[in-house]
C-alpha cells in the first residue's frame, strides 16, 4: 500500500477517507484535521492561552503535542486520581512527555493530586460516598480542570475527546433518548456563565485509531493499559459496536457524529440556546463559587460527605 499523496510506502490506511499515508503525510493530515476543527468551530485564536487536560493516554498527549507543534501556547493539567499503579504509570508518562517534548516549547504542567485534597484515592472516595467510581472521577476532573482554567486565567480548556468518544456518547444519548444532553455534545462549548471556562474538543475530526497511530509514529510514550475502573463500561461497549460497523462500512462514525453536528447547527444557534439555558439555572456555589444548579455544587457536597464519613 502506497501513500496517496507522495506514493512512498504507506504506514497506515484510512478507509473512511479512501486514502493511505506515509509518516510525513499522515502527520500533515492529522495537523490539518485539528487546524480545520479549531477554525470551523471557532475554538480559539493564535494568541489564546490554552489549558489541555492530560491523562497520560494517547489522545490527550497527542493533543498537547499537536497544539504545541501548530504553534499554540498550550499548558496542561494532570489530575492524579490515586488509582494505585495505574495512576503512578500515567503520571510518569505525563511527566516524561513534559520533560522531553513540552518543556522545549516553554509549556508548563500543572498537577492536582486527589489524595492530597480528599485524603483518599478515587476508588476509596467513591466507596465512602456510595457513588460509582467513574461518576466520582468525572465530577472531580470537570471541577478541577475548570478551577485551574479560571484561577490561572486560561482562555480555553481543551480535552482529547476524539471522533469515537463523541460518536459513542451520541449513540448512548440517542439509545436512551437523553435529549437534554444533546446540546452539550458539540465540540466547542462557550463559557456560558461567569466561573465556567470555555471548553473545546479539537480532536473531534480524528478517530481513536488515527490518534493511536499518531502517538506511535511520533514516539509519544502513552499508557496503553486501560483504566482498571473502566472495564466493561457502556462507552467501551458502544465503541466496539461502532467499530464493527465502521469496519464493514467505512465512514459510519463520522457520518453519524458530523451529521448530528450539521443538523444541530441548522436547527438553531446552539451555543446561544445553551448559554441562555445555563444563565437561567446556574448561580455560584455558596461554598466555592463555581457555577451550579443547587445551593452547593456536587463537588463541594462530595468533599463534605467524604470528610464526614472518612475514618479519623
Amino acid at each position: 500500500m502506497n501513500c496517496t499523496k507522495c506514493k512512498t510506502k504507506a504506514v497506515i490506511g484510512l478507509p473512511r477517507h479512501n486514502a493511505a499515508f506515509c509518516k510525513g503525510c499522515f502527520n500533515g493530515f492529522v495537523h490539518d484535521q485539528v487546524a480545520r476543527a479549531i477554525k470551523s468551530e471557532w475554538m480559539f485564536g493564535k494568541e489564546a492561552k490554552i489549558l489541555v487536560a492530560v491523562s497520560g493516554g494517547k489522545d490527550s498527549l497527542a493533543l498537547w503535542d499537536i497544539l504545541l507543534k501548530l504553534g499554540y501556547k498550550a499548558d496542561a493539567l494532570y489530575v492524579n486520581l490515586g488509582i494505585g499503579a495505574y495512576s503512578e504509570q500515567s503520571h510518569a508518562k505525563v511527566t516524561k512527555f513534559t520533560e522531553t517534548v513540552a518543556a522545549a516549547h516553554g509549556a508548563t504542567l500543572h498537577i492536582h493530586t486527589v489524595e492530597q485534597e480528599a485524603g483518599a484515592g478515587i476508588k476509596e472516595l467513591a466507596q465512602l460516598i456510595h457513588r460509582p467510581t467513574c461518576s466520582t472521577c468525572g465530577t472531580i476532573k470537570r471541577y478541577q480542570f475548570n478551577r485551574v482554567a479560571i484561577e490561572q486565567q486560561y482562555d480555553v480548556m481543551a480535552t482529547g475527546h476524539n471522533l469515537d468518544d463523541e460518536a459513542a456518547r451520541l449513540l448512548g444519548n440517542v439509545l436512551h433518548w437523553q435529549e437534554e444532553y444533546l446540546d452539550k455534545q458539540g465540540p466547542s462549548l462557550p463559557a456560558s456563565v461567569a466561573g465556567f471556562a470555555k471548553k473545546v474538543k479539537p480532536l473531534f475530526r480524528l478517530s481513536e485509531r488515527e490518534l493511536a497511530a499518531y502517538a506511535v509514529l511520533n514516539r509519544i510514550d502513552y499508557i496503553v493499559e486501560e483504566c482498571p475502573m473502566a472495564k466493561g463500561s457502556k462507552m467501551i461497549q458502544y465503541k466496539e459496536v461502532l467499530n464493527r460497523l465502521e469496519t464493514e462500512s467505512p465512514g459510519t462514525k463520522q457520518t453519524f457524529y458530523w451529521g448530528f453536528l450539521d443538523k444541530q447547527s441548522k436547527k438553531q444557534p446552539t451555543a446561544t440556546t445553551m448559554a441562555e439555558k445555563d444563565r437561567a439555572v446556574l448561580h455560584p456555589c455558596t461554598s466555592c463559587s463555581q457555577p451550579t444548579t443547587a445551593e452547593v455544587c456536587s463537588y463541594c457536597k462530595m468533599m463534605a460527605r467524604a470528610k464526614t464519613v472518612a475514618p479519623h
Binding site: 472521577c137 493511536a212 506511535v216 486501560e226 473502566a230 467501551i236 465503541k239 466496539e240 469496519t247
Partner: protein, 64 residues
C-alpha cells in the same frame, strides 16, 4: 511468529507468513480497533509478516 497482545498482556505464537489483515482475522480482532506494529514500525493491513518477526497488536479503544 511471536505476537504481543494487550488487555490482558500476553504473547501468542502464530504461524507465518501471513498478511496483517489475515492475522487480525485469525485472532478475531477488528481492524478499526487495533494497530499492528512490526518491530518499531507501524504497518498497513496488506503488509506481509514472516516467521521471526516481532509483532505487537495494540488495541486503541480507551475511556470509560
Amino acid at each position: 511468529m511471536q505476537v504481543q497482545l494487550s488487555h490482558p498482556s500476553r504473547t501468542v505464537e502464530v504461524k507465518g507468513p501471513k498478511k496483517v489483515k489475515d492475522l487480525l482475522r485469525e485472532l478475531n480482532l477488528v481492524v478499526e480497533a487495533h494497530l499492528v506494529i512490526k518491530g518499531d514500525d507501524l504497518v498497513t493491513e496488506d503488509e506481509m509478516l514472516y516467521e521471526g518477526d516481532q509483532i505487537e497488536v495494540r488495541p486503541v479503544i480507551s475511556g470509560g
